[in-house]
Amino acid sequence: MQTSGLHKLIKVINLTDSTYILQIEKNGMQFEAGQHILLGKENDPDQREYSIYSGINDEHLEVLIKEVTDGSVSKHLKNLEPGELLNVEGPLGFFGLNKEKIKSGKFLFVASGTGIAPFHSMIKSYPGLDYKILHGIRTCNEAYGKEDYSKESYLRCASREADCDFEGRVTDYIIQNQFDKDTICYFCGNFKMIKEAMDLLEKKGIPGTQLHAEVYF
């Protein structure tokens, strides 16, 4: 059920200089893991789409936001004080797990940067999920919420730092590794990464019907 209304900000959790989590009152909103909301300041016509970061059963609603230097929304949201009101519309979108496959499916989640958000929601929502995350980041400190994933299922692919799990881009990892053909793949993040990763996995024999993408810009 979609709603549109004002939600109170609980807190801003800064993860890095430019990335933060907005924790917002849920106001009973029910959503599917992977969906997004339209979010903006109260009385501000400018709204942006953000994937929901929290799990479906969590007490609060959370979104993971990367501050855009010239952005007209993300910068302002970061400076809000607890108790201020946000305009929230949603949940929206169709990027979600096939419910019939949640128990039996094998999932590969490929993310870049804050594109990890919908996967964080999926994993928190369904603790028994059989998954592997390839998280494309520049440096190790961008591994947002890594404590929420099992160590063996979460792989940091860092392009500018050698001390993470894999040195290089997620696409380099895909090139160097094999994947079962029945793997259901989800991609979220920047366009270029998604395009390349989808092409690579399709060439490795994963059918197009098992590839699902949500592009961030």
Binding site: Q2, L92, F94, F191, L211, F217
Partner: protein, 429 residues
């Protein structure tokens, strides 16, 4: 003396449906519907804002009404009215600006105006589906609205802003609407909405809804209009075996380039689209597939455009509606880099239009020697009848004394250029 009312509808079939319903309500209130070029007491303009061209056309029509209205009133509604409400309210040619959510209030606004009442936005009725079945319309086919709004948020598209979130009309309302128009005598029902494939009402999805529509008794056929290319199942394709479901869909491809589709945030790949088109052709040879293509999306390279040309050519669409990409304020694509030069967009548009002419001709030629069930729409000056077959291809039946709004089974004998490539039919005894 009854008041005169004139309508102008721009844009999609959903707007056509809504205008039909409004016109019908005005008629019930003793208004006389006249042509838009005539002098009227009320001019209703149901606008479109899907491209900058649509905005221009809408503005032009508003100005025409403003010049003609004298003591009358101009009511502007539709997507442009929603998108530019404040701006339009300052336009002296316009008396009332009514957004999409309140479109059903247009009749009561006009009535209140002529009764000398003060009409304000707050009194407008907010209702998406309160459109009564229209007995007499501007068309020989009846449009049925099953859904409104869209949640897809394609990066180029303003529709989620002006039509709001996806909402589905109750199943029984839809079915009752169809029963009613069939009773009125309509022989063709066009399913309309913003994103009809996402229809969902209390567990009934689009496929299940169409199945229920097909169970309604009567001599009529159903045509699926514009639909998004995602989520089709084999059982959905099997529905087309039913004689009441026309073998035609307008499925929006937008681009044949995987990269452009991703940037548009479309929910399918070019490869899946092609597989779907091939499957339809395999199951129902000659299946009529028409489409929309956007040329000059930000960042679209020559190679990516060529991928679209190649794909459109290999599918052989019955018709391609070509749109030049134009910035819609507030959409994600507005902020994308590498916007394509207007001249180049025009060039690409011309390439697609030429291709469309070629593929349309090839597709239509395939029907010579086959049969079609033609719903006659008009009797031409020479006394012959013109209508559309089930594949949504125009057919002229060179016989006299045929009736409009009647089905005729014909053998297609040849193809002639009559404004456009038109099938020529001979009645089957």
């Amino acid at each position: 003396m009854s008041k005169k009312i004139a309508f102008k509808t721009l844009g999609c079939r959903l707007n056509l449906f809504e205008t039909d319903s409004l016109a019908s309500e005005f008629t019930k209130n003793n208004y006389q519907v006249v042509d838009f070029s005539e002098k009227a007491d009320v001019y209703v303009i149901n606008t479109c804002t899907v491209t900058s061209m649509s905005d221009q056309k809408s503005r032009r029509v508003i100005n025409q009404a403003g010049r003609r209205k004298e003591d009358g009133i101009t009511i502007v509604t539709g997507c442009m009215a929603t998108n530019y409400k404040e701006q339009l309210e300052k336009n002296e040619n316009i008396d009332y600006v009514v957004d999409n959510d309140h479109k059903t209030s247009v009749v009561s606004i006009a009535e209140a105006h002529f009764n000398g009442e003060i009409v304000s936005d707050e009194n407008y009725q907010k209702e998406l589906f309160n459109y009564q079945p229209a007995e007499e319309t501007f068309h020989t086919r009846s449009f049925i609205k099953i859904q409104d709004g869209c949640d897809n948020f394609c990066t180029f598209c303003i529709i989620p802003k002006v039509r709001g979130r996806a909402t589905s009309r109750p199943v029984e309302d839809v079915l009752e609407n169809i029963r009613k128009v069939v009773e009125f005598g309509y022989k063709e029902i066009i399913i309309t909405g913003v994103n009809i494939g996402r229809y969902s009402y209390e567990g009934i999805d689009f496929e299940a809804l169409v199945e229920k529509m097909l169970e309604i008794p009567g001599d009529f056929r159903i045509r699926i209009s514009s639909i998004e290319p995602d989520g089709y199942t084999d059982s959905f394709f099997r529905l087309f075996k039913h004689p009441k479901l026309a073998p035609h869909m307008h499925i929006c491809l937008q681009s044949g380039s995987e990269g452009v589709l991703l940037k548009m945030r479309r929910m399918y790949t070019a490869k899946l689209f092609k597989e779907m088109a091939d499957k339809l052709e395999e199951l129902y040879p000659g299946f009529s597939l028409t489409t929309d293509i956007i040329v000059g999306f930000p960042g679209e390279t020559d190679d990516q455009f060529q991928e679209t040309v190649d794909m459109a050519s290999s599918i052989g669409f019955g018709h391609i509606h070509t749109f030049k990409y134009s910035i819609r304020k507030g959409t994600r694509a507005e902020r994308l880099p590498d916007h394509v030069d207007e001249k180049e967009k025009n060039r690409r548009g011309e390439v697609i239009r030429k291709l469309s002419d070629e593929t349309r001709l090839s597709h239509r030629k395939r029907f010579v020697g086959k049969t079609q069930r033609v719903l006659v729409q008009i009797i031409l000056k020479d006394g012959f009848a013109r209508g559309f077959g089930e594949h949504y291809i125009p057919v002229v039946i060179k016989e006299k004394d045929l009736k409009t709004n009647t089905f005729y089974d014909v053998n297609i004998t040849n193809l002639e250029e009559i404004d456009e490539p038109t099938l020529i039919g001979k009645l089957i005894n």
